[in-house]
């Protein structure tokens, strides 16, 4: 299970010759950082520093958008009774089941007409309008905050907006951490979005750069490809291990209320 990854890490520290001559071993005979130095140079005069920076901007932007929008929407749907609530909740559940690829062509045309292609806008801005998965996740967590808190605050004269700010948001801390992990990871890992909307290498995030880096069918420098692959996984790996508790809870809660 873990072997392929350990193999990837091991290979990234091997010399060019050893990668192929001593392929199965996980531990290099002689540890070299040459692959990392070479790989970092990137291609077309653009280093991986740029690609990492792009990934970081995209992931941060999407995460902020998702957090603001999904906490608001989830609160509105969970704790305020208003006509139309069920209808809008249904649209969220249906969107959750909707195969996203159906939307790709018209969305591309929309963003193209808006002049957003070759910018981060088509990838970041939609996040500010709510993702069904995150809304659903937040709603699951809001259930765990006793409604009596809302009522008590309401009796004391708090408005719905104050309740959201002073009661729900602080109570949602675990859900917020969970959402940060997933939003960050999914955006970091997203390949198709950047593939569609970003055609200039200087805008590439790491995922796209790796593919471009490894693209020619006869790659000669596998070592450098391995090294950059390892680097691209490092932040994700640490986030997962570090916030394991939240990540497990996040994945688990999405299925708790069943379909």
């Amino acid at each position: 299970m873990v072997y392929p990854l350990l193999w990837l890490i091991g290979s990234s520290f091997k010399t060019h010759q050893e990668i192929f001559s001593n392929m199965t071993s996980l531990i290099p005979k002689k540890i070299t950082f040459e692959n990392y130095i070479e790989g970092w140079k990137g291609f077309g005069g653009i280093t991986f520093a740029t690609f990492f920076k792009n990934s970081f901007i995209l992931s941060t932007g999407v995460t902020i958008g998702v957090l603001i929008s999904s906490t608001m929407i989830a609160y509105g749907l969970s704790r305020i009774a208003f006509p139309g609530r069920n209808f809008w909740f249904t649209t969220i559940m249906l969107t959750l089941l909707l195969p996203g690829q159906v939307l790709i062509v018209p969305r591309y045309i929309l963003f193209y007409k808006l002049g957003w292609v070759n910018s981060f806008k088509p990838l970041i801005i939609p996040a500010f309008f709510g993702g069904p998965f995150f809304i659903f996740l937040m709603m699951q967590f809001i259930r765990g905050i006793p409604y009596e808190y809302d009522e008590a605050a309401s009796i004391d004269g708090a408005s719905k907006y104050q309740i959201f700010w002073y009661i729900i948001l602080p109570g949602l801390k675990p859900a917020i951490i969970t959402s940060i992990i997933f939003a960050f990871y999914w955006t970091w890992d997203d390949f198709m979005g950047p593939l569609l909307y970003l055609n200039k290498p200087e805008l590439y995030p790491v995922a796209l750069a790796l593919k471009a880096f490894a693209d020619p069918t006869t790659i000669t420098n596998w070592g450098a490809v391995f090294a950059m692959s390892v680097l691209s996984l490092v932040p994700i790996f640490f986030i997962f291990v570090f916030f394991q508790k939240y990540m497990e809870a996040g994945i688990a809660t999405t299925s708790v209320s069943k379909l």
């Binding site: 990837l8 199965t24 929407i73 907006y161 508790k245």
Partner: protein, 295 residues
């Protein structure tokens, strides 16, 4: 009244997002499916021509359907079975294993969808890759096997990668397993029920809602598989890994045939809707909801 204002205030991002980024594209792509359109010009109405071409003339469309169904039929059950077994094991030994060790065990599979892993897979199954190296040096194979270039093998390398990505359904299973009351197993053990009997009479029925959830989400995800095929095989050899989403992508963004791609996308929506509907129908027969919890 203030509730109406507050309610709509809070969900306003979703209303805008749904109308602009979901509903409008859905309707637009349906209309576009009756046109010829290359993004730069104006859409030209051509009636049912795209649909006709798709169903009656385009062999690659059927290749894509075949590859996608094959992938879904094998990758989804295998991944779920694998996830289920790992969850069972981790659940049994949980108190003996420290948390960190458990994370190291499954986190690799969570990153399995990464481009980095796809690139690695391409090397592992390449002509001069790890698999051929092992076969030649340890099992005495004289010839190298073209794992990614042989129509018999290529799709299986992708299915194997899919199995390796068992992490997230596994965690969902694990959470479900923890909710099953221990007393049930204790009572069953006292009555002398074997492990297998407990598995089939307690664990699986009580876990069935979770199994169903995983099945639906993984099936929908399976129909949309794209990145791995795009990076590892590019749809080759002989279209055996030309997954539907990959073909839609090629039609739209390589051939700029937006009308045709829209027709294809809509047909996928219909297929997924039918499959999801059938899964929900079947769930009445095998998914067990506790009394009082029936939806």
């Amino acid at each position: 009244m203030s509730n109406i204002i507050a309610g709509y205030f809070f969900i306003s991002p979703w209303i805008i997002g749904f109308l602009v980024f979901i509903l409008f594209p859905l309707v637009a792509s349906f209309l576009l499916s009756f046109t010829k359109y290359d993004v730069l010009g104006t859409p030209k109405f051509i009636g049912l021509e795209n649909w006709q071409r798709m169903f009656f003339e385009d062999r690659r469309f059927y290749n894509a359907l075949r590859a996608t169904f094959k992938y879904v039929v094998f990758a989804v059950p295998f991944r779920l079975l694998f996830a289920f077994i790992v969850a069972l094991v981790l659940n049994l030994v949980e108190h003996k294993i420290i948390r960190l060790y458990r994370a190291i065990y499954y986190v690799p599979s969570l990153v399995g969808g990464s481009v980095a892993v796809a690139v690695m897979w391409k090397q592992i199954f390449g002509m001069d890759g790890l698999v051929n190296y092992i076969l030649q040096n340890f099992f005495g194979f004289s010839e190298k096997i073209m794992w990614l270039g042989d129509p018999r093998f290529a799709i299986w390398t992708l299915i194997l990668l899919a199995m390796w990505q068992f992490g997230s359904p596994m965690l969902i299973f694990l959470a479900g397993l923890k909710q099953i009351p221990v007393e049930l197993y204790e009572a069953a053990s006292i009555d002398g029920a074997s492990f297998w009997r407990q598995l089939f009479k307690i664990t699986i029925p009580l876990l069935s809602p979770v199994i169903f959830f995983n099945l639906v989400m993984q099936t929908i995800g399976g129909f949309m598989v794209f990145t791995q095929a795009y990076i590892i095989t590019g749809g080759a050899p002989l279209d055996t890994t030309l997954f539907y989403a990959l073909y839609v992508y090629q039609k739209a963004f390589r051939d700029y045939d937006m009308g045709y791609a829209s027709a294809m996308a809509w047909f996928m929506l219909v297929i997924v809707a039918i499959v999801t509907f059938l899964l929900f129908r079947s769930s009445k027969k095998w998914v067990y909801y506790e009394a009082g919890e029936v939806k």
